[in-house]
């Protein structure tokens, strides 16, 4: 009977196409919209992603990764004095204005890393060498920044062309020269503009001698030391706040800097709401479209199910047939939909815009939603078939 149920489903190619299109479209919509949403939201914890270290230590009042409340330089030595710490390096972050050679101003995120070890340096440099950062007045900018701060000229065809910054170009930060010695590949940030890396000591010049510049400390645990336990020990010993740098935003751990940043933006800004409504609309449209198409499929087959029922098929058999059809259609639609979503996603990731992060949770939630829609449609169909009078089959 289940084979026949499947044959019933696959028999009508036009209806199957419509059904699968509906389900696939909604799966696509759900997966793609939420992935882009979480992609954009993941920009909030870009610093944690770009500046790589197992543990971050901050002022106890810091709530999220874009929030710099500088500490005293001697705090670095206090952290280094905590048992289980392998090393600790200073880190400065601040939002500054960069003045381009054409006189334009651009907001940048200045990151000062330890010149001795380059702990926290970008992982991939597309141009230049990290060691050149030890030369005077040098910086490394990210590719986005190189593009954003590039020179706009008129091309041969009269169109505006952006010539991105390259190694050797300069700009100014607080009237101090910043000479580019490298271009790095890092993730874009939600706030604060492109990343400009320089050495920790030099940020004191660029920030015009800010009273304190130690925004964060990057800490590596000794081999075999659990980062979470080390965080607790650092907090107990120094009174500072220690975070893990994992980007699992779904965890319950309040140690994760990325997770806290994510949810901080969620709670404290209107961003999730404005983006979220679009996502929710996508979800509703998806649910409505797939529910509607599947329901109409059930309705069209109601007559035949009534006949099968009259011929002596029990409701159990019919219910299972409907469920087999629903879940088959649901799974197929889901597979096709997320297949399309991931294809679009890969293209987006390739381009870098807009951001796209398909969490496993998105995958499973989409699956659950599509199957849920299928299940609800099937249940409605089952109720319909159970209510239908077997005698109706005698009335034309």
């Amino acid at each position: 009977m289940y084979r026949l149920a499947l044959n019933m489903l696959f028999g009508d190619r036009a209806k199957l196409a419509m059904l699968l299109c509906g389900l696939a479209f909604s799966a696509l919509l759900m997966a793609q919209q939420t992935s882009v949403f979480f992609g954009i939201m993941s920009w909030t914890y870009t610093p944690v992603y770009n500046i790589r270290a197992p543990i971050w230590v901050s002022d106890p009042m810091v709530e999220q990764a874009n929030d710099a409340k500088p500490m005293r330089d001697t705090d670095l030595y206090r952290v280094r004095s905590v048992d289980g710490v392998a090393w600790a390096a200073p880190l400065h972050t601040s939002f500054l204005q960069a003045r381009m050679q054409d006189g334009n101003f651009k907001l940048i995120t200045m990151v000062g890393i330890d010149a001795d070890t380059f702990a926290g340096a970008p992982a991939v440099l597309s141009q230049g060498h990290i060691e050149d950062l030890r030369l005077p007045n040098t910086v490394i900018v990210d590719e986005w920044g190189a593009q954003l701060m590039g020179r706009v000229t008129k091309g041969a065809d009269g169109k505006e062309v952006v010539i991105p910054l390259k190694v050797g170009d300069t700009f100014e930060v607080n009237d101090l020269e910043a000479r580019i010695v490298g271009i790095c590949k890092v993730r874009r940030a939600f706030t604060g503009g492109p990343f400009v890396y320089t050495t920790y000591d030099r940020t004191k010049q660029y920030t015009l001698g800010a009273r304190r510049t130690l925004s964060f400390m990057l800490v590596e645990p000794q081999a075999g030391v659990d980062p979470v336990k080390l965080c607790a020990r650092i907090e107990a010993d120094t009174g500072l706040k220690a975070w893990t740098s994992d980007t699992v935003i779904w965890s319950w751990s309040d140690r994760s800097l990325a997770r806290n940043t994510f949810w901080w933006f969620w709670k404290n800004t209107g961003i999730p709401f404005s983006f979220g409504t679009a996502v929710a609309l996508g979800l509703f449209v998806g649910i409505a479209v797939s529910g509607q198409t599947f329901y109409s499929f059930v309705l069209e087959n109601l007559k035949y199910f009534a006949a099968i029922k009259a011929m002596g098929a029990g409701m159990g058999v019919i219910a299972r047939m409907l469920l087999v059809q629903a879940f088959t259609a649901g799974l197929l639609g889901f597979g096709l939909g997320v297949g399309m979503a991931q294809a679009i996603g890969r293209a987006m990731i390739e381009k870098g815009m807009p951001p796209f992060i398909m969490f496993p949770q998105i995958f499973w939630a989409t699956l659950a939603l599509v199957l849920g829609i299928s299940l609800v449609s099937a249940i409605i169909g089952i109720i319909k078939v159970s209510r239908v009078d077997a005698a109706t089959v005698f009335r034309g």
Binding site: R52, Y77, S81, W87, T117, F118, L336, Q342, R346, F359
Partner: protein
Amino acid sequence: MFQKRYLLVALAIAGAAAALQLTRGTATETPTNPPAYPPATRDKDGLIAAAGLVEAVAENTLLGSPTSGTVLKVHVKVWDQVKAGDAIITLDDRDLTAQLQVQLASVTAAEATAERAEDAAQRWTGLKDSGAVSAGDLLGYQVAAKEARARVALAKAQVAQTKVMLDRLVVRSPIDATVLQVSVRVGEFVAAGLKAPVVLGDISRLQIRCDLDEQLAPRMSAGLSAKGYLKGESGRVGSESRAIPLKFVRIEPYVIPKVSLTGGSAERVDTRVLQVIYQFDRPSDRPIFVGQQMDIYIDTTSNVPRK
């Protein structure tokens, strides 16, 4: 039709599999990449960290000038070995030299006057009994001679004073040392006691002055051994082999406001530090310079009794 159906199923499975694979790709773990140069790594528990500054054992002598004046000559350059008493800088002495000439002339003049007065006094003293001179006049001649002698002494004293003042214009090394820094040039004006134009130090043996955050002070005690890591050396030498063993010297009894060690010119004092002095032997394989920064790890588990 069957094949098409399976194609559809295969397509769906492929789509889901690719999506699942992508979810793995959008990593939830932050990839960490180790620092380009391995930092000084703690390898055991019970260590406390401090910032250290390399200085000469006898501490550095910030040589000042006792008088103000324009620099006439700088006798040394950095790295020069000087003995105690060697001239370091000479200030402009032209006014005193001129004054000396005048004073020397007035000594000569005073001596001539004194000679004449003495001669007269002697002569009239010889004729005292002849009655050719009254007792009062004779006394007058004798006092005049005495006065003239005193004038000579005064003029000589003035010459001596000027000579001392001239000598003070030459700043001399009080110790045997190496010239570490010369921050004055010929022709510059040096104010008395304001700025040390020359820094001297005995750099045959170096020591480390460690700034220990006052909150770490309770964990510090005398005699603890330590290791130092020179800044800027990471990567060039292996993390362990670049550790410099340090010997405890003393703890400074007075907790002072922190002085910037990080090079930031505008850094202000906002904490107090306990200073601890450590000594080390110059490693043979690399140069170490006075003023270099060091990361210090003090081993609180190594409570060696003090000598």
